[in-house]
């Protein structure tokens, strides 16, 4: 079992996921990255496969399940799963209400405006990220 940080990206826009992967790999080198364009599949993966520390970049606006609905499902997961996952909202939204809502959620570590940047990935990895 790998104790390396695992990265999970949930966004219906595949191009965003490609960009994220390239930025993360550029910043941290070879790490485990899982991409999901269907949030339901992302949820299932987390529930079944997360046994160690991991970082989730979650989009808000997705057609079948929004980021908020995703979080409602996630809340029902066991503490064993949830203790490993650090969730960051990664959204193109510029709306302050989304940012407030994200910060008010106890499972969300921070709100990041797209696009994901090199420096942001480094500071998250070091545990120095400040919203």
């Amino acid at each position: 079992m790998s104790t390396e940080l695992k990265y999970i990206i949930v966004d219906d826009d595949p191009f965003n996921n490609t960009i994220c992967r390239m930025i993360i790999e550029d910043a941290l080198g070879e790490v485990e990255i899982e991409e999901f364009t269907k949030p339901e599949e992302g949820l299932l993966f987390i529930q079944e496969n997360i046994k160690g520390p991991s970082i989730l970049f979650l989009d808000i606006n997705m057609p079948t399940l929004t980021g908020w609905e995703f979080l409602e499902q996630y809340e029902k997961f066991s503490e064993e799963v949830k203790m490993h996952v650090s969730i960051y909202i990664l959204s193109s939204s510029l709306d302050w209400r989304d940012k407030d809502k994200a910060n008010a959620n106890k499972y969300v570590k921070g709100f990041i405006s797209k696009p994901l940047e090199f420096e942001t990935v480094i500071s998250i990895a070091k545990g120095e990220f400040q919203a």
């Binding site: 219906d12 191009f15 490609t18 390239m22 797209k114």
Partner: protein, 638 residues
């Protein structure tokens, strides 16, 4: 028992005295006798003996009979004085009689004495009695006159035989004269009758005199000082023994006081009536229904509006419900909600009982298929005469309708505003997302060594993002065109024509999957509207049904029009995949909302439909069940 007479005898001769005594004894008269012969003794005896009769000798040594008579008169006693004398001249006897003696008896004719005594005593007694009687009469006449004047009445009398008229003191006063001022006559009576009453009085009197008929007459008398009194006179005819009228006896009464009191009362009654009439007019002119209740909740009074109200609502209360229990009538108003009736009853009870100062509530019910609103106000009635309550029902339907209209408009505005915010949010998101991608991708391209495959990937991604941007801008343009395009020309659009056009344009899809499109526009087949909008609405709804059909069933799409009172309903129903409205209900018409990730679409269709329906002044609603189908209903006012 015969009382014995007390006889005082003035005599100085013993033998003469004894002779008189014997004579009287012989006649059987019971008496007691005292003999005096001096002046002092005489006066003393008058006091002490108190005689019934005095017998006097004429000449005595000390004084004579004339002196004795004068002394008697001085004492004021009215008792007989009889002179007994031996011989007397006629002249002297006459002079003594003139002085007041009752009789005289000669000594040689003493046998006449007993009769003379008895006669004299009898005469004096009856004289005395008559005097007492006369005194009484005089006293009562005086009293009567006083009574007449005090009690303001009077009498009059006409002797028909002698044609003489008498007025009593009270009558003089009542006829407006001082006593004895004028001759008592009918003419003088008429002189003081009020000019307005004279004709009537004369007519009444003439009629009575002509027919010898007892009559009552009332008239006004004008006094010397101009003051006016009301007189009631009543008279009747007295007949003689032959049955002919002999006298007319009249009785007058001053009725001014009772007359004025009556006039005052009448005036008060009229004023009260006028005041009550005014109140009734005001009460009846008031639009609210007004009902007055007594302490036991029974109706005491109602106004016109209440009458109309009971008629309009078939409450069927006889006599406007006066005397009926108000609560019982309220319970009959079945069209009013039962819980409202309960609150209502509680309010009335509490206000009447005094545990509540005022009660007010609003309620509605359906009258002739229209919802009408009333405000109910109950206030206590606490005047001197009665306790109870005043119940007012005020028709507030107009106010309520405008309130509801305002609420609806406010809700519409809030909804509109929310829609606009969502729209702005979605647009900004959908513009921002590709832009963020382009920024991210170009930053990688600039800063990171990449394989040519990765470079190619990013370039393609940037290209897609730019295309998406362009697409969003085009959508935006389209939406803004709808919003601004309401000024275009309206025309009569035939529903069947629209459906046939659409069927042709998507013929390939329909044929490929054997999709059935049925329509029934028999109730309404046209609408005066903007044709491109209606076309777009029909196209989007039909193509959605095609897009989200279920592969496992034979797909049918039905479109039906219904003509309602003041609107046309268009119902689009299919047997497709349906949608979970519990989950997505509030988002179904949202821009870029998509609920099926495996079917292409960008979430514009229903947003456009809703926008266009609303631009045409309509409403759209949806019913759906997953794996059963979806039904859209559009309403247009006509």
């Amino acid at each position: 028992m015969i009382q014995s007479l007390k006889i005082l005898h003035i005599e100085d001769v013993q033998s003469d005295a004894e002779l008189v005594e014997r004579t009287l004894k012989k006649s059987g008269i019971a008496f007691e006798k005292r003999i005096v012969d001096g002046k002092e003794e005489y006066i003393k005896a008058l006091e002490e003996f108190n005689p019934d009769v005095i017998l006097s000798d004429h000449s005595l040594p000390a004084f004579d009979s004339l002196d004795a008579l004068r002394i008697l008169k001085q004492t004021g006693r009215t008792i007989p004085f009889i002179l007994i004398t031996a011989t007397v001249s006629e002249e002297f006897a006459v002079s003594v009689m003139k002085e007041g003696a009752s009789d005289y008896v000669l000594k040689d004719r003493l046998q006449r004495l007993p009769n003379a005594v008895l006669n004299a005593v009898g005469k004096y007694r009856s004289d005395n009695e008559r005097q007492v009687y006369l005194d009484k009469i005089f006293a009562s006449e005086e009293l009567f006159t006083k009574a007449e004047l005090l009690a303001e009445f009077g009498t009059w009398r006409i002797d028909l035989a002698t044609d003489t008229t008498n007025w009593s003191a009270g009558t003089y006063k009542l006829f407006g004269y001082r006593q004895g001022e004028v001759e008592p006559s009918y003419e003088n009576f008429l002189k003081n009758v009020h000019p307005d009453d004279v004709v009537e009085v004369a007519r009444n009197f003439k009629n009575a005199f002509d027919n010898f008929q007892s009559t009552e007459v009332e008239c006004r008398i004008v006094n010397e000082d101009g003051s006016i009194r009301y007189l009631h006179t009543q008279f009747e005819f007295e007949l003689d023994e032959k049955g002919d009228p002999a006298h007319i006896i009249g009785f007058n009464q001053d009725v001014t006081r009772s007359k004025l009191a009556k006039i005052e009362i009448q005036k008060n009654i009229e004023e009260l009536k006028a005041a009550r009439d005014r109140q009734t007019i005001i009460l009846n002119a008031m639009p609210p229904n007004v009902v007055l209740l007594n302490e036991s909740g029974e109706i005491v009074a109602v106004n016109e509006s209440w009458r109309k109200f009971t008629l309009a609502n078939n409450l069927n209360v006889p006599g406007d419900g006066i005397g009926f229990s108000y609560l019982a009538i309220v319970e009959r108003a079945t069209s009013v909600d039962a819980s409202a009736v309960k609150r209502f009853e509680k309010g009335i009870r509490e206000v009447i009982a005094g545990t509540r100062n005022e009660f007010s509530m609003e309620y509605s019910y359906y009258s002739q298929n229209k919802e009408v609103w009333f405000q109910l106000i109950i206030v206590p009635l606490r005047d001197k005469a009665q306790k109870g309550a005043v119940v007012l029902h005020i028709d507030i339907t107009d106010r309520k309708i405008s309130e509801l209209e305002r609420d609806r408009m406010t809700a519409d505005l809030v909804q509109h505003n929310t829609d606009l915010e969502k729209f702005a949010y979605i647009i900004s998101h959908n513009l921002r997302a590709p832009v963020a991608n382009i920024i991210g991708a170009s930053s990688i391209l600039n800063n990171i060594e990449l394989s040519s495959a990765d470079k190619e990937k990013l370039n393609r991604g940037i290209n897609t993002s730019v295309m998406r941007l362009d697409e969003v801008i085009n959508d935006l343009n389209q939406i803004l065109q709808i919003k601004g395009g309401i000024d275009e020309i309206k025309e009569t659009v035939l529903f069947s024509e629209l459906v046939e056009h659409i069927k042709i344009s998507i013929r390939n899809l329909i044929d490929k999957d054997n999709i059935e499109i049925k329509y029934d526009f028999s109730e309404a087949n046209e609408l005066f509207a903007l044709k491109p909008y209606l076309y777009s609405i029909f196209f989007n709804l039909i193509s959605n049904s095609v897009k989200y059909r279920r592969q496992e069933v034979h797909s049918t799409i039905e479109i039906q029009s219904r003509l309602q009172k003041n609107k046309i309903e268009l119902v689009f129903s299919d047997n497709g995949m349906g949608i979970d409205l519990k989950k997505y209900g509030d988002q179904i018409f949202g821009l870029y909302k998509r609920f099926h990730s495996n079917i292409e679409g960008k979430g514009m269709g229903l947003f456009m439909v809703k926008t266009q329906v609303e631009m045409l002044g309509g409403k759209i609603s949806v019913k759906s069940e997953e794996n059963k189908g979806t039904e859209f209903k559009i309403e247009f006012k006509i």
